[in-house]
């Protein structure tokens, strides 16, 4: 039980990061109708900015992170206004290629601006909270707790805004049909730009949270981004909550498989290497399960079936 709880708590940071990245990807997917491959590198750029202010200039972390969010948001808005707005009639795959061109550009520019940065903060808040269950010492890092609180507040705010505010309504209208939304008087340009901005900001926040446990680099968010895409499909891009829920489940389930291998199989068989090897296959198993779900529910778990007219 204790080891189980420890595993659950271990996945909290990853869950927060994936949820934030997925929200960002979903926002862009719904308003710009494309998957933003550059999301990862824009987020990473944010982490570099935060690191500069925190590590080099000695600013407090609570200032560095918001600055990084603003910078990333500004870059994302610039991308939308400068590139996507001009290529509005480029098809979805074309837009994907544009974002991949952006990857090349940002990946090369980042080391030019931040030549020797490798680490960001070790923690938002240092220290652990520990308690004993079943004679097993369970620890929860305060940093993880802070991450969960921040993520919850941010995501809740976005969901509430999407559901109840005028901006949320216009986003939902643009998502369902950009052309008609424009005819009804919604300024879709602004809606898209704001969505990109929020996505950029969310990315930077996710990168900062991730940077507390990983070495920062231009590609350090790519793995989460891929998970987010898959979560989007499994959850169904038709809704906003579907992808986010699935995104939180993916790291959780991965850790559960690792726990199953190490905690259950190893104990039952007395063979520690067998348990560890199951842990090695965790990501693969999760991805295969995701593919099977998609095969049987092509519109995603929370998606709606769209009738296709010939």
């Amino acid at each position: 039980m204790g080891y189980f709880l420890d595993t659950v708590l271990d996945s909290t940071t990853a869950m927060c990061v994936t949820a934030l990245v997925t929200m960002a990807i979903t926002l862009i997917f719904k308003t710009s109708f494309t998957t933003n491959f550059a999301q990862g590198v824009i987020s990473a750029f944010g982490a570099f900015v935060a690191s500069t202010f925190f590590n080099k200039m000695g600013w407090p972390i609570w200032c560095a992170v918001p600055i990084s969010i603003i910078v990333s948001a500004a870059i994302a808005v610039l991308v939308d206004v400068g590139i996507f707005r001009r290529g509005r009639y480029v098809n979805a795959v074309g837009k994907q290629i544009i974002t991949m061109g952006l990857i090349s550009v940002i990946v090369s520019i980042t080391p030019l601006i931040f030549p020797d940065l490798k680490y960001f903060a070790t923690n938002f808040l240092s220290g652990n909270i520990s308690f004993v269950i079943d004679g097993y010492n369970v620890t929860l890092a305060k940093n993880a707790l802070v991450s969960v609180i921040i993520t919850t507040i941010v995501l809740a705010t976005i969901f509430i805004t999407l559901r109840y505010s005028k901006w949320g309504l216009s986003v939902r209208a643009t998502a369902s049909n950009e052309y008609v939304a424009g005819m009804m008087g919604i300024n879709t340009h602004i809606v898209t730009a704001i969505s990109w901005g929020i996505a950029g900001g969310l990315g930077a926040l996710a990168a900062s949270i991730n940077a507390t446990s990983a070495e920062i680099g231009v590609y350090f968010m790519t793995e989460y981004q891929v998970t987010a895409f898959l979560a989007g499909i499994v959850g169904g891009f038709a809704t906003f909550h579907g992808p986010v829920i699935v995104a939180m489940l993916i790291p959780f389930c991965t850790n559960m498989i690792i726990w199953f291998g190490n905690g259950v199989i190893s104990k039952l068989t007395g063979d520690a290497t067998l348990g560890a090897s199951i842990g090695n296959w965790a990501t693969t198993i999760i991805y295969i399960i995701a593919l099977i779900i998609i095969f049987f529910k092509p519109n995603g778990i929370f998606g709606k079936k769209i009738e296709k007219k010939v």
């Binding site: 491959f37 795959v93 994907q96 290629i97 061109g101 952006l102 990857i103 550009v105 790519t222």
Partner: protein, 365 residues
């Protein structure tokens, strides 16, 4: 009747006799217009260029690396071109599929001690199985969703590679008792590329190619015409995966080693994206376009840009330039550079027409 025919024949023979030089010129032009000949010529030129860069100082050695990478990845690009340009489906699984080739060679050759060509066969077989799986999935999911799904599949494959054996090293391959050195790999890679080009061209012009094109433009209309969507989608994906897998075998033949966990390995997301970009830049409906696009993504950097002294001092600018190039092409030339060339050709023929009109007056007939 007979008389008239006779007259006609005699006229024809007279014509031929009087203008003997023209048909020969026409024949020569005809040969040059023959795509098979063009591909063979391309292969020959490529080998000559590679030889010049290896054996002589006229071309820098960096050309060898750039051109041979282009040749290897071109095989995958051509398959992707068929998938995207002719069946209207996109995929981001190319990286994972390339890995099939690499790992087949590794396991067949180093562990079983069998020959390289058998390894290619095994790679093709595995690729067919994976292609069938993706093909079946593509029946239920379309467009951008399919792209992400193939991305997921590619990640699964990469994870499998990582767990099986993170880094593989086959060293230098022996074929028929001869050790193939890095500089000699071109004698295998270039002919295979040319064969792939010829096969693909024939496939495109065959009823299969036309059926795929029909399916791309309207699935419903194609079905109404009696085209089996299942068959052709499966076929498109199988071809794409098989080509990518062959490309993988060529890459491992040339490089000798690869690491799965590295972010820049052959089977990482970046390869899939680069191949996609190559096909888009070149023009997704033309084999030449795919090869040129691959050259832009994989060859231009080492062959041309790095030899410009300003750019070799600032290597990061090279990636920025290629990124900007990708964005600009997609935004302004959605048909790729092939379309740009076509437009250029059209402009030239219009100009020629104008010159002719100025010379001889307007053709009123």
């Amino acid at each position: 009747m007979d008389k008239r025919l006779k007259q006609q024949y005699s006229f024809d023979s007279l014509n031929v006799q009087s203008k003997t030089s023209k048909p020969i010129a026409k024949n020569v032009r005809g040969i040059f217009k023959n795509s098979t000949f063009q591909y063979l010529l391309f292969g020959a030129i490529l080998i000559v260029l590679l030889l010049v860069s290896v054996k002589t100082p006229y071309l820098p050695y960096s050309w060898y690396g750039g051109l041979i990478s282009t040749a290897c990845f071109s095989i995958a690009s051509i398959g992707f071109c068929l998938l995207m340009g002719y069946s209207g489906m996109a995929s981001l699984g190319t990286g994972g599929f390339i890995g099939i080739g690499c790992y087949s060679v590794y396991y067949v050759m180093t562990l079983s001690g069998l020959s390289f060509f058998l390894a290619i066969l095994v790679a093709i077989l595995i690729a067919i199985i994976i292609g069938v799986i993706v093909g079946f999935i593509s029946l239920r999911i379309e467009s951008i969703y399919l792209v992400i799904l193939t991305l997921g599949l590619s990640e699964i494959l990469r994870n499998v590679y990582r767990v099986l054996s993170d880094s593989i090293n086959i060293g230098r391959v022996e074929i028929f008792g001869m050790k193939i050195l890095t500089a000699d790999t071109m004698y295998i890679i270039v002919p295979i590329l040319v064969i792939i080009m010829i096969v693909t061209k024939n496939l495109i012009s065959s009823p299969t190619g036309r059926a795929m094109l029909a399916m791309k433009n309207s699935t419903a209309a194609a079905q109404a015409m009696g085209i089996s969507v299942l068959k052709y989608r499966l076929m498109a994906f199988i071809i794409c995966t098989v080509y990518a897998s062959i490309s993988g075998t060529m890459l491992i033949l040339r490089n000798g080693s690869a690491t799965a966990s590295s972010g820049t390995s052959f089977y990482a997301l970046i390869t899939s994206l680069n191949i996609l970009a190559a096909v888009i830049i070149g023009g997704y409906k033309s084999i030449w376009g795919a090869i040129f696009g691959t050259f832009v993504m994989y060859g231009m950097n080492t062959t041309i840009l790095q030899n410009i002294s300003f750019l070799s001092e600032h290597p990061e600018l090279v990636t920025i330039i290629s990124g900007v190039l990708v964005i600009v092409v997609v935004m302004f030339y959605p048909g790729g550079l092939a379309q740009l060339l076509q437009g250029f050709k059209g402009k030239i023929s219009k100009l020629l027409l104008k010159i002719r009109e100025a010379k001889y007056g307007k053709d009123l007939g």
